[in-house]
Symmetry: C2
Subunit: 434 residues, 2 copies
């Protein structure tokens, strides 16, 4: 007996939840035509039902208590679009324990509570899907988990934080200072009033947990990821990078070594010839290398009401298919083993090419001292540029690109260099795309 | 009762078939770990079993008669990697009629016999999947059909012929003439000895039939597609385009109008700022606009043994999942209605901006005559460049970019212009990306 109707309960009718309601209600005919399944948005939870959301919810039970969704035996799929950890986490756990499938866009929750959520889903043979949690509308989770299922994933490089990418793009293309680009991003709705989560790289690290866990089929911990944000990048650095033929991008990086994963989020100098350098403004892209497929890239909007809802609906349709064939198999979630933990390479033993920007006192012999220190730590220089522009009295910007060196070597060399009395404490070390 | 083993029969062990065997045999553990399903390559068909294919086939029944696969009740999924129409078409029909699922990379067959194949699959509640038929290893069929299921597809722009893209890239980036770039592509294995199918645009048209049919959920006919190849594009045109800030790409275009589909394959001037302009050499990309998701792009290798096999394996895994849940539902194939036919906009009523390259006699008043003819057909000029370089005695190249005009207006204007005695018969009309 095929179940031709699937009932959905929606937790949270804010921006994204409203988008989900819009598509389920306004595109009902399209979805039924494409799938042969009728998608019924039965109930929606919110605290404020007075607000006009631009969608006719008269066919939906608008409730103010989550129990009416979580304990309703008719509801097959619970969609969580509340965000944050509490009460979203408790609601999702209850839904899974009540044998309901769950769809969520909540990257912070998957990144920090994935282990608990996945094992709860496994225990009740349900699925928890999260396509919208990385790359907004881009079907990257599906692409990685299903489209590239035949591949050992070798490398992932993601531009997965739209705020950072918008700021860096405006600095690169239009010469804005960091603060001005941030303020503009806030004015245009691409950055939060408190942008810390985006600027610090933490949001990108959340998304990297998800991508890397899929790639490894094991649960990565947020603490496994070395994270630097874009706050230290100045217009001067963007311009120097540009003059060398690079564009600075905040990348979420997952590289598979000999049984060890290298997991990092940091601003990176990407060669202009690489497709990732062309991903601009608030857009996202995930570059994936697999052992069979080679190099692929998935590009699109990383946020927004309808793009995010588009991804959520694709999860809902997948679950509805499974329910139609036979409910509660939970095989999709089982592709990540919540109790296995991958071996992660300590960042200090990772090798990269480096970009160093220092301010040095304008006097003879200083470059010789710096290159002497680098050489003593077995770091060789590939390019040096010193500008004549004086800043801070008699100091000038000096930029060095190095050949490949280990993080710990660079760390030690930098400690020595920055302790020189002729170097200002304001310096920046970035890494080159490899 | 879950079926934990799925048996596969492989028709044709050439380049792609060998890739499929390699992944099924060498990555068996990875696939079983990820899916909980054991994939057994039971039998393979080929006429020549003496050749070393670089893969150990000792666990596989190597047969020379298709009956041993098509009539074997143990085989769940038949993979067709023979190519061409005969006998692939008959084999696939028999497999479907025998209630086996089918996976194929055969774009020409889907494009020309899709209607018959899909209805045969529907009749036996089986699926025929074809991820590898467009964009090689890129999961674009899955992305479009599942990842973007919530979207009405508005536009598709595909770089889906690697041979053409390789040739155009070498002309653009390295200044090669068409013939030299083609010869190099042949030497490097990116073009066939007889490159007609690629150069003529027909291969791209096959792929557009598939993409457009998914977008429309209805079967598009190959004859619906207006097709021009790249053979007329010279280095001079590539250089002119470059000077205007454009890169010439062979695009497969599907635009959804008011209930009418605009379906075309032709070389197109793509602005350098567009991501599609950065897709170079033999690589493929499909740019998709959906009403909810906005603009997305899927990028990767469009051909090759392992990329193509990667896509085929993803289809095999999807079918194995369905078999595990409950065999023979056939819902994936039902997403395209084989008996519905979309309304296609006649190309003569399509509007574009045009690029015209003429050779005109170097004498006064000729530009006035040409612009007079264009004006009489309500076509307005946006840029004109005339070079001083003389070719063919006293003729000079003249390039005109127009504002938007209808195809039939341009057709009539061109008939008048090229009948002028001061214009050489060698001219080129291209369209700009819109």
């Amino acid at each position: 007996m095929e179940k031709r109707e699937v009932s959905i309960g929606l937790l949270g009718v804010g921006t994204v939840g409203t988008g989900v309601a819009k598509i389920l209600l306004n595109q009902a005919e399209l979805l039924e035509h494409r799938t042969g399944i009728s998608f019924r948005l039965k109930s929606a939870l919110d605290l404020d039902w007075s607000r006009d959301r631009g969608v006719d919810l008269s066919s939906v039970r608008c409730v103010t208590s989550a129990d009416e969704i979580l304990d309703d035996p008719e509801i097959d799929i619970v969609v969580e679009t509340i965000g944050g950890c509490d009460p979203a986490y408790q609601y999702i756990l209850r839904a899974l324990n009540n044998s309901k499938h769950v769809v969520t866009a909540n990257k912070a929750l998957i990144a920090t509570k994935g282990r608990e959520l996945f094992s709860a889903a496994n225990a009740s043979n349900t699925d928890i899907l999260f396509e919208a949690s990385v790359g907004g509308g881009i079907p990257i989770v599906k692409g990685l988990r299903e489209g590239l299922v035949a591949n050992r994933i070798l490398n992932i490089y993601g531009i997965v934080n739209g705020t950072s990418n918008y700021i860096l793009t405006r600095m690169h293309q239009d010469g804005l200072e960091f603060e001005d680009a941030l303020r503009e991003a806030q004015d245009r709705g691409f950055a939060e009033a408190d942008p810390t989560l985006d600027i610090s790289g933490e949001d990108a690290a959340h998304k990297l947990v998800i991508l890397a866990s899929i790639a490894a089929s094991k649960m990565v911990d947020l603490s496994d990821i070395y994270t630097e944000g874009i706050a230290g990048v100045t217009k001067l650095d963007v311009d120097f990078a540009k003059s060398f033929g690079y564009t600075i991008k905040l990348l979420a990086i997952c590289r598979m070594g000999d049984g060890e994963m290298d997991l990092r989020v940091h601003p990176t100098l990407v060669p202009d010839s690489h497709l990732l350098a062309s991903v601009s403004h608030e857009l996202n892209a995930v570059f994936v290398e697999g052992d069979s497929v080679g190099k692929t890239m998935f590009y699109g909007p990383g946020a927004g009401q309808l793009p995010t809802a588009s991804a959520i609906i694709s999860d809902i349709v997948d679950l509805a298919r499974d329910i139609q064939l036979r409910a509660n198999s939970g095989y999709r979630t089982r592709t990540i083993d919540p109790f296995a933990h991958p071996t992660v390479k300590p960042v200090k033993s990772v090798s990269s090419r480096f970009y160093l920007r220092l301010y040095t006192y304008d006097a003879p012999g200083i470059l010789a001292r710096i290159s002497g220190i680098l050489g003593a730590h077995e770091i060789s220089i590939s390019s040096v540029v010193q500008l004549e522009t004086h800043v801070h009295d008699n100091y000038v910007p000096l930029v060095i690109l190095t050949h490949s060196a280990r993080e710990d070597q660079m760390e030690r060399a930098l400690a020595e260099i920055t302790s020189l009395e002729v170097i200002l404490p304001d310096y920046l070390r970035l890494r080159l795309f490899q």
